[in-house]
């Protein structure tokens, strides 16, 4: 088994509840994300939030990002800070970018929000653009980019902003097989770029998201209770299913996927 320790808490979601009038969407959401440390390397965290369509994943996504206030409960990051908009990098499902800005301009706006990059914004944009193969697209407008290019531009934008947390809403939807492999590779690359980098992937693509995660949170309904909650938390590191290439072929992986499906 790979050596690791789970250190301090990076994010804590406590008693989150979301209801509209008397309609309960989410209830009793409790989980925490800890800093995973592996000897001799930088290892970020990748958490998959899996659930059926319409179960409330996007609502939870918005609560985690601070874009939506829960009816009750709170999300705490960096020990004691309640999450607010701007604390987390958010990559929307359709990789939204400002349509009136070129890619470079959009990235520059994000970089200028990061005080640590002061004076070296352009250098960092060029560095990321090169790393994510987007150099030739810097002068283009979002309308001129393909879906994959838009996604990479969105990721760079949020990386430049400098948040430790990256929330991704359905990053694998609508991608063909070749692009899917590139995207998963890209996310793994981001996850090891910093020790505290934490990716929370909201998806209903079980196999792909589990393959790159260290933890799986299953959002679902419990019998007789209204509103979705975290039904199960699976520690993939503990099962020796994390950080491995070609994990999708492993029997234990396939069993875990079946276990998740059964839980939904």
């Amino acid at each position: 088994m790979t050596a690791y320790i789970k250190d301090k808490i990076l994010l804590q979601a406590s008693n989150i509840r979301l209801a509209y009038d008397n309609n309960i969407i989410l209830r009793d959401i409790n989980f925490c994300i800890r800093d995973i440390k592996r000897p001799g390397m930088q290892q970020g965290q990748v958490i998959s939030l899996i659930g059926r369509s319409g179960i409330g994943k996007t609502q939870l996504f918005k609560i985690l990002s601070g874009l939506q206030q829960p009816t009750a409960g709170e999300v705490i990051i960096h020990d004691n800070k309640t999450v607010k908009p701007g604390d987390m990098g958010v990559i929307f499902q359709n990789y939204y970018l400002f349509e009136w800005r070129t890619v470079f301009q959009s990235l520059l706006l994000a970089a200028k929000k990061n005080t640590q990059l002061k004076g070296k914004e352009e250098a960092m944009i060029n560095h990321y653009a090169n790393e994510f193969q987007l150099t030739d697209e810097l002068k283009k407008y979002p309308q001129q980019l393909s879906g994959g290019q838009r996604q990479r531009a969105s990721i760079i934008q949020q990386l430049l902003k400098g948040s430790d947390f990256l929330l991704l809403d359905e990053p694998f939807s609508g991608l063909d097989v070749c692009v899917l492999d590139k995207v998963t590779e890209l996310l793994l690359q981001v996850s090891v770029s910093d020790e505290l980098k934490t990716l929370i992937i909201v998806s209903h693509d079980i196999s792909t998201s589990v393959a790159i995660s260290d933890t799986v949170l299953i959002l679902g309904n419990e019998q007789g209770k209204e509103g979705a909650t975290i039904k199960k938390e699976i520690d993939l590191v503990d099962r020796d299913l994390a950080w491995q290439k070609n994990i999708k072929k492993e029997k234990a992986f396939l069993e875990t996927v079946e276990e998740i499906k059964a839980c939904l």
Binding site: P85, G86, G89, Y96, F98, W100, A110, Y141, Q144, G148
Partner: protein
């Protein structure tokens, strides 16, 4: 295709026109003659200056109320301005005469009063249709409310302001002839049109209408081209991956 349609129209016009309705040839001759006269140039200049002045003031007023409409106090004012589309200018001439110093000011204020509700209606529609994700992206990037307003509404919708300007220029150009008819002291194409109408000079009326129509088309093209030049993204089609 357009040339063919134009040709058919002229033929139909020529064959159906009788003694009262001038033939296309006569209108063309009057049009040519009109173009060379100083009276047209002077009147056209008066109208154009007045229209452009009214447009400038209207844009400033519209943008102020449209941008501030996100603040509850100004929202109701903007909504009231929108409703003012249903007020007729003719019924307000006396009030405006009392409120203004001279004919020039009267025409300008009437024109502004006529244009602003249409501008505001179009621009508020743009603001209401803003994708929620534009605001959310700003929030995730850590923008405060003012930065969001600047990025999403002022910068982000600048091209649409230009488009509204282009579309509403037609309204201004339509109103100019009406407003100039109310106060004819300084001339203008509106007063020239009324003069020709008064003497039942239909050939010159149609020739002048043709000129007004062509100038309108020129401005439409000019504003459209300027918009695409200033805001290249407004002309882009979604790239296929």
């Amino acid at each position: 295709m357009i040339v063919l349609q134009l040709f058919i129209t002229i033929i139909v016009w020529h064959s159906t026109s009788n003694g009262l309705i001038p033939k296309p040839g006569n209108v063309a001759a009057a049009f040519g003659k009109l173009l060379g006269t100083k009276i047209l140039l002077d009147n056209l200049l008066v109208s154009l200056v007045l229209t452009l002045k009214a447009m400038c003031y209207s844009i400033i007023i519209t943008l102020f109320f449209a941008y501030t409409s996100v603040i509850p106090f100004f929202k109701s004012i903007a909504q009231f301005i929108v409703k003012c589309r249903y007020l007729t200018l003719t019924g307000l001439i006396f009030i405006f005469t009392l409120l203004t110093k001279d004919g020039s000011e009267l025409k300008l204020s009437l024109l502004i009063f006529g244009i602003v509700p249409f501008f505001t209606t179009s621009f508020l529609a743009v603001i209401l249709n803003i994708d929620k994700q534009e605001y959310e992206l700003c929030k995730t990037l850590g923008y405060n409310n003012w930065q969001t307003l600047y990025e999403v509404i002022i910068v982000g919708k600048a091209d649409q302001v230009f488009e509204i300007l282009r579309q509403n220029f037609a309204i201004s150009w339509l109103m100019i002839t009406m407003v100039e008819g109310l106060s004819m002291s300084e001339g203008g194409i509106g007063s020239l049109l009324i003069k020709y109408n008064k003497y039942n000079d239909l050939t010159n009326v149609i020739a002048l209408q043709l000129l007004i129509f062509l100038i309108g088309l020129c401005f439409d093209f000019l504003l459209g081209t300027t918009r695409h030049w200033l805001f290249p993204h407004s002309n882009l089609k979604q790239a296929t991956s």
